[in-house]
């Protein structure tokens, strides 16, 4: 119990004094995660919508696969990317290992299936409504997908936030491909893991609280940006 109180005080103190080392780590966390989220969104939203909209042999299997890939363990993703990027690996020449770019790649791989699977579900629900009209109008698939993503954008925000949450909280993958190198690839989660293994649980928890504050800030921001738009785009009458 004493530990908890101590952690809260520590977290408050760290935030207040805006410790430059901490700021560096926080900014890198945000940069890596938001980059990965952007990349995943560009891939996952259209693919998810495509899976929702089209019917082809093997589609069911693909849906099951993406659903299953939501259970991709971060450590495994980390290992895969490590093997690709390591000097002995096929992409070793790029010398990306232990750089933030490698972390972005790993997180992108990690959360893209989540975005695909959840987008598919959201867009599928909307498509139940639109499909026949689109078919009647002869809307080509890319146009239909764009329209569904646009009209479903308010629901998709939650999907993106789920992806953000998974990426920002993730430690296994970025630890392996980033190496948790101080000043280079140390992010919030790897810092937390480090403090934990040092046995400084209070500091680890304090860092965790700061990470949560960060997530809270991002979510609140999204909610603020979203609110006026959602109101005027309200689907329900009155």
């Amino acid at each position: 119990m004493q530990d908890f109180a101590q952690s809260f005080l520590l977290a408050g103190g760290l935030i207040l004094e805006a410790d430059p080392a901490l700021v560096e780590i926080v900014l890198l966390s945000l940069q890596v995660t938001l980059s990965a989220l952007l990349a995943s969104a560009l891939i996952g939203l259209p693919l998810g919508a495509l899976l929702a909209v089209t019917r082809f042999p093997g589609r069911r299997a693909l849906v099951v696969l993406t659903n299953a890939l939501m259970g991709l363990p971060p450590v495994v993703v980390g290992l895969l990317v490590y093997m690709m990027l390591s000097n002995a690996g096929p992409l070793g020449v790029l010398r990306l290992l232990y750089t933030p770019t490698a972390m972005v790649i790993a997180q992108t791989i990690l959360i893209t299936p989540i975005l695909i699977a959840l987008t598919r579900q959201v867009i599928n629900d909307l498509d139940q409504e639109y499909a026949e009209t689109f078919r009647s109008l002869g809307v080509p698939a890319p146009t239909a997908i764009a329209a569904l993503l646009w009209d479903g954008r308010f629901s998709l925000v939650t999907v993106l936030l789920a992806g953000f949450g998974r990426a920002v909280a993730e430690v296994g993958a970025v630890m392996i491909v980033g190496g948790n190198i101080n000043h280079v690839t140390r992010v919030m989660t790897t810092a937390i893991a480090l403090e934990t293994s040092r046995g400084d649980l209070a500091l680890a928890l304090a860092l965790g609280l700061i990470l949560l504050t960060l997530a809270l800030a991002v979510n609140a921001l999204t909610s603020l940006i979203n609110a006026p738009a959602r109101m005027s785009g309200n689907v329900r009458r009155a």
């Binding site: 000097n87 290992l97 232990y98 392996i176 190496g179 101080n182 480090l194 934990t196 293994s197 046995g199």
Partner: protein, 251 residues
């Protein structure tokens, strides 16, 4: 097994595979199951201090002694030792291959500015490394790019070193059991200063009433006794012995 104890230990004992081999022997004899929680040294000590374990088995002598002095542990016993080695890429950019003087080797690494992966996690290994830098007269705090703190365990740090062709300091046991070596090989070893002592402590039942003192003590007795010591000595990888028993109180 009808009874079990929890041993808080470090990853080196687990990663090397030692415990997997010797613990079943103890269990078979005593009927006591040994549950090992292998974490960072700091975390292991903290966990033990919380009473979340019956026995502490680590390799950070000053911290262990403080643990006993604080009344968290009953008594510390030497169990075994192995040694630290400096590993590095076969290309050996710092030119230290074959050196036996650890601090001189580190000084050359610093001089050449060759990448060095430090655990940076206040573990026993990290503390040993810091001491060596100090002896070598190198201020790693001021170091540029070449000195990389990974902030992770031995295995993870070895993975990093292999991935970026860096030197690093590791305990021999973890190294021998480690498989993702890439181009790494041992470049410096054999210095007395690289000695790595493991100790075992019973968590203080007076302070933590839940501690299974009897079973825990039985394990310690076995470990530092003849059977345990010979089991440790018998453990080999590729014919190489990883740990050298050196318990003094053979009762």
């Amino acid at each position: 097994a009808d009874q079990f104890i929890v041993v808080q230990s470090t990853t080196s004992t687990q990663n090397s595979g030692l415990l997997d081999v010797i613990l079943p022997e103890f269990t078979k004899k005593s009927g006591i199951e040994v549950r090992v929680v292998a974490v960072g040294t700091g975390q292991a000590i903290k966990n033990a201090a919380n009473g979340d374990g019956d026995v502490l088995l680590v390799h950070a002598k000053p911290a262990e002694e403080k643990f006993v002095a604080d009344g968290e542990g009953v008594k510390r016993f030497d169990v075994m030792y192995n040694d630290f080695v400096v590993v590095g890429p076969a290309s050996d950019p710092a030119g230290i291959k074959g050196m036996t003087d650890a601090k001189a080797a580190l000084a050359k690494i610093a001089e050449a500015g060759s990448p060095f992966a430090s655990r940076g996690d206040d573990s026993g290994t990290h503390k040993k490394e810091q001491a060596l830098w100090k002896l070598a007269g190198v201020d790693v705090k001021a170091a540029k790019d070449w000195y990389r703190e990974t902030g992770s365990g031995m295995g993870a740090t070895l993975n990093v070193a292999a991935g970026m062709d860096a030197y690093t300091l590791t305990d021999r046991a973890t190294w021998l059991a480690f498989q993702n070596r890439g181009s790494l090989e041992i470049v410096t070893q054999g210095d007395d200063i690289l000695f790595n002592q493991y100790g075992v402590i019973l968590v203080n039942p007076a302070k933590h009433p839940n501690v299974k003192a009897e079973a825990g003590q039985a394990f310690i007795d076995w470990l530092i006794g003849a059977e345990g010591q010979s089991a440790i000595a018998a453990y080999k990888i590729n014919g190489e012995q990883l740990f050298f028993p050196n318990a003094t109180a053979t009762n």
